[in-house]
Amino acid sequence: MYVVEVHAMDPFRSAPDAAKQGEPDLDSLLALVARGDQDAFETVYDRMAGPVFGVIRRVLRDPAQSEEVAQEVLLEVWRTASRFDRAKGTAATWVLTIAHRRAIDRVRSETAAAEREQRSASAPMPAALDEVAETVEASLEAERVRRCMDGLTELQRESITLAYYSGYSYPQVASLLDVALGTIKTRIRDGLIRLRDCLGVS
């Protein structure tokens, strides 16, 4: 079960990590992982596998491919734990940044695209967004994000959703929404600023 972040006390440690009382936060766990502590890694897995798999699945849709990428990402967390840099954000952010980027790498690699096409020709249509959303575990966080997303303009919301969850590049987003490139760049940034302030992260 993923534990939802409650509130950001320290602006630099807005951490979703320090949720469970009496348990070390993810930043500390990662320091243990960097020293080869496999038990600490198991705890990191328990806390992060849900969102890691979830975001990858959201981008890639294909369950088998998503599982493959999730496994790569989680192993990368083990392998590169010593390179985690607190100055750039929390451990959870670090892990989820890797997860999203690997999913995007997979989308953008041509061979994978061909594979996906092949598969979708023979397989049933991928689950619709809402269908996936129903299985969302961290419903509180989902609710919070949904509420904050509602505060965005439609263009901001659509741009961010297409870029982050559907894995489109911003020129592709501009083309899909039939809006100028510069406009999309700005809307994504403005939307993120509003979202960031609403979510209370920094």
Binding site: P51, L195, R196
Partner: protein
């Protein structure tokens, strides 16, 4: 105008945090980011925001994933911390003096470090391992820089036979802006000539340095070259000793890096 490029780069912080830039733009923005504190702060906040979007998508991972990940971790060597090393010669001397046991060749360690990920790099490492196992002179800092390229997530490999015989191999990471070059079996040159590497982009060829002399078995030790731009090809020409600023002969090989 001085402000506009900066403002433009600033506007990309959002798209960057959502991984919505193509590789070339991502590289350009990351170069800008290194020197822009305001951008760093903004990207930090946006990354945390994106992480919330990820958490909102959290779903139960498939059964069996945990066992596989933990099992893989148990047999995967971890990367060492990225510590700043003193100047190469100095560092080697000190290690020689105080910790002779640590003077193991870097390549086997590299090969282990890549285990599990960096598939592209792993492919070339088998090759590099063979061709350089006697290169004990490679310094620690060099090996870390090489490792950074070989294990970069966007590392890609290209290999081809050369008209001077043998094969040339490149592992390149556009995000690092660097490549590692190695070759085996290229014909030996008289001392008045060298093999020189070039980055071929839209403009004039840019020198990527000289290929180091081959060892007795005919392979050249992996050499690092910086200044790689996205989309570059890599060429090797025969030039007068010391190298030239522009190629004067037809390349013995031109390697195209996979996108």
């Amino acid at each position: 105008m001085r402000l506009s490029p900066r403002r433009d780069a600033h506007a990309l912080a959002g798209a960057y945090a959502l991984d919505a830039l193509d590789t070339a733009e991502r590289d350009r923005f990351e170069r800008h980011l290194r020197g822009c504190r305001a951008c760093q702060a903004e990207v930090r906040g946006f990354a945390a925001t994106a992480a919330s979007l990820a958490r909102a998508a959290s779903i139960e991972p498939p059964p069996g994933l945990k066992e596989r990940v933990l099992a893989a971790a148990a047999v995967t060597r971890q990367l060492p911390p990225d510590v700043t090393v003193p100047a190469a010669g100095e560092s080697r001397r000190r290690r020689d003096a105080t910790a002779p046991a640590m003077r193991s060749p870097w390549v086997p360690r590299l090969a282990l470090a890549v285990g599990g990920a960096g598939l592209v790099a792993a492919a070339v490492l088998g090759y590099v391992t063979v061709s350089t196992q006697n290169q004990l002179t490679t310094t620690q800092s060099q090996s870390q820089e090489l490792a950074a390229v070989l294990t970069a997530p966007d590392a890609r490999i290209s290999s081809g036979s050369t008209s001077a015989g043998g094969t040339a191999t490149v592992v390149a990471s556009p995000s690092e802006g660097k490549m590692v070059f190695t070759s085996a079996g290229m014909e030996a040159l008289p001392s008045s000539k060298v093999y020189q590497m070039w980055f071929l982009g839209p403009g004039n060829p840019r020198s990527a340095g000289l290929v180091p002399p081959a060892s007795v078995n005919g392979s050249t030790p992996p050499v690092l070259a910086a200044g790689l731009e996205n989309g570059d090809k890599v060429a090797v020409t025969v030039e007068p000793a010391g190298g030239t600023s522009q190629p004067t002969t037809t390349p013995v090989v031109v390697l195209t890096l996979p996108a």
